[in-house]
């Protein structure tokens, strides 16, 4: 069972979330929908993210691949140019740097796709329609809790609370 409460500002929505969390609701049961990002204070609705780590790891991966590739190709087809050594870190350092950055870029984008879940299949949870400027809090609860949750949402300051069907 999904309930959706519409709020007109961040503070009442945050209050509602804290109230629900105090009553044994998990952040997995909660979702906030809006037309622009809502800046909740820390501790209200934190979602763990490993994007920075992914970015760094992507960069390092591409760096190692690039270094290996340059070393291999320059030795595979060894030609002397201008008296320079076959594999020169300084002469090819730019390549390594750019490839590292490319790795970080690609990793960031791929991780974004994963973390935001935009490419996932149609999720079974209904998406509420949000009016521009409003913040909609969607709560997943058992059928018995509907009245309770509705009460909490209204008390926190929801303008309206409704049950969500398949079409939100």
């Amino acid at each position: 069972m999904y309930l959706a409460g519409d709020f007109h500002a961040m503070e009442p929505a945050a209050a509602a979330i804290m109230e629900l969390k105090a009553n044994a609701f998990d952040t997995d049961d909660l979702a906030v929908f809006s037309d622009e990002p809502v800046e909740f204070p820390r501790g209200v609705l934190d979602r763990p993210s490993h994007m920075s780590l992914a970015s760094v790891l992507g960069g390092i991966t591409f760096l190692l691949l690039a270094t290996g590739f340059v070393y291999f190709t320059q030795h595979n087809y060894p030609l002397v140019t201008g008296g320079m050594p076959l594999f020169s870190f300084w002469a090819t350092g730019v390549i390594f740097y750019e490839m590292t950055m490319l790795g970080a870029i690609v990793a960031t984008f791929v991780w974004f796709l994963k973390e935001s879940g935009v490419l996932r299949r149609r999720s079974p949870a209904p998406t509420p329609k949000v009016e521009p400027g409003w913040i909609c809090l969607r709560v997943r609860c058992a059928a018995e809790q509907v009245a309770e949750v509705t009460h909490w949402l209204n008390r926190a300051g929801a303008a309206s609370v409704k049950k969500l069907g398949e079409n939100g």
């Binding site: 809006s34 909740f40 590739f69 090819t92 730019v94 960031t108 984008f109």
Partner: protein
């Protein structure tokens, strides 16, 4: 007078920013057709060059690089518009940048696409351009990674990938909104591009994290890209090319010309799409101040380079220096100084003269001046080579002029197309955050 944008109701914001997406005005069509014709002339010119050979240009030994390379550096420089605005201002949380970021990022992507064509256009055997890419082949050949041109390839490839992603990411929420309201082929396009965006908090969270990371990465890449482009010259031993100052000099020049391009684009957008409420005088004032700052910085680097050459009095370098300052290229050199420094300094430095109009005039001046600056860097060094028996005067042919003109036309067309598909001012970013102070 500053209009406080917070008081514009959200519906009005969306209507204003979405209105240009539907319908084409007469003026739009006229500009599009003109741009198309100019672009076509460039294609014809290039086709002629492919058929006959590079001899149709004005190039000759020892001036092996001419207007095409000038164009290349110029357009890659313009592409730093987005980097400064989006990345630096985003990282420093300057709120006034918000209506400007998408226009800037669009300039970046299109300028890169155009600039990236020139390494192909200037080739003697352009149909073999893909040989610069290391791919396994039956002849077991690889490429020379020690060449600065390969560094160019990787740098521009990286920057292009990053810029496209950096343009696309903040576009997703706006496309999501558009997808809800659009029908037909547009609706199909928007639905596909929005990737199923629903506006949930974890999507926003991931998006903002990604944008913040990308801002930092893009900044690092952009600095390296134009440094690497400058090293095409600095790594050579030609007199007045082989200078350590080229890295920072070119990055500064790129940001300088990028801001000018952005200012010009904004002035046109503001007028053509009636976005005076969103691109306010405050934005132009801030960008004008940045332009002035970059002008001074550019002057500093130019002086540092020329002063050290002149004082050092090394004969080969003095040949080139004399050519620039007193010789055949003097008129370009001093025009460049006038356009890049005097015009912005007077029009923007004097508070009473600073306005949207004078800022636009200054940007046009800077754009011309910066093109001349690239010309001054590339050509005199080559035409006054180390062995005087090879000295020659270079002048571009109609082919080079046509192709150069067509790049501006291409930019116009790309921008016209983009502004009809996507809102040029970011709608979701324009909405003020509750916790934000501007």
């Amino acid at each position: 007078m500053v209009v406080a944008h917070q008081v514009i109701p959200y519906d009005e914001v969306r209507d204003d920013l979405w209105r240009p997406l539907s319908g084409v005005s007469r003026r739009y069509l006229v500009v599009l057709v003109c741009a198309f014709l100019v672009g076509l002339s460039g294609l014809v010119a290039w086709g002629y060059q492919l058929r006959r050979g590079l001899g149709v240009t004005g190039l000759q030994r020892p001036v092996f690089w001419g207007v095409y390379i000038v164009d290349f550096v110029f357009w890659i420089g313009i592409s730093h518009a987005g980097t400064l605005i989006s990345a630096i201002l985003r990282l420093t949380d300057a709120g006034w940048r918000k209506p400007v970021t998408r226009a800037a990022e669009a300039i970046t992507v299109f300028a890169l696409a155009i600039g990236g064509m020139f390494p192909i256009i200037h080739l003697g055997r352009a149909w073999l351009f893909y040989w610069l890419v290391p791919y396994p082949n039956s002849r077991l050949l690889w490429v020379n990674f020690r060449s600065p041109l390969l560094w160019d390839l990787t740098a521009i490839l990286t920057y292009m990938t990053g810029s496209v992603i950096y343009l696309y990411l903040p576009l997703i929420p706006d496309i999501g909104q558009l997808a809800e309201h659009a029908t037909g082929w547009r609706g199909f396009l928007y639905r596909k591009l929005s990737l199923g965006w629903t506006g949930s908090d974890w999507e926003w969270h991931a998006l903002e994290r990604a944008i913040k990371l990308m801002a930092g990465i893009i900044l690092a890449v952009a600095v390296s890209v134009h440094t690497v482009v400058s090293w095409d010259f600095a790594m050579a031993i030609a007199p007045m090319w082989h200078s350590t100052i080229f890295g920072p000099y070119f990055v500064t020049g790129a940001i300088f010309s990028g801001i000018a391009a952005l200012l010009l684009a904004m002035a046109i957008i503001r007028r053509a799409m009636h976005l005076e409420k969103y691109l306010t005088r405050k934005h132009f004032n801030n960008l004008a101040k940045l332009l002035l700052l970059m002008s001074l910085l550019w002057l500093y680097f130019t002086m540092a380079e020329n002063l050290t050459v002149w004082y050092g009095n090394e004969p080969k370098e003095m040949d080139v220096f004399g050519a620039r300052v007193r010789g055949p290229y003097a008129r370009y050199f001093w025009t460049m100084v006038f356009l890049n420094f005097v015009v912005p300094f007077v029009l923007l430095g004097i508070r009473r003269l600073r306005s949207v109009t004078t800022a636009t005039i200054s940007s046009v001046a800077v754009l011309i001046g910066m093109w001349l600056e690239r010309y001054i860097i590339v050509v005199p060094t080559l035409s006054f080579s180390r062995l005087p028996s090879a000295w020659i005067n270079y002048g571009p042919s109609w082919v080079e002029v046509a192709i150069t003109a067509s790049t501006f036309a291409a930019m116009a067309m790309l921008y016209l197309g983009f502004s009809k598909l996507f809102p040029i001012v970011s709608v979701w970013e324009f909405e003020p955050h509750p916790a934000e102070d501007d």
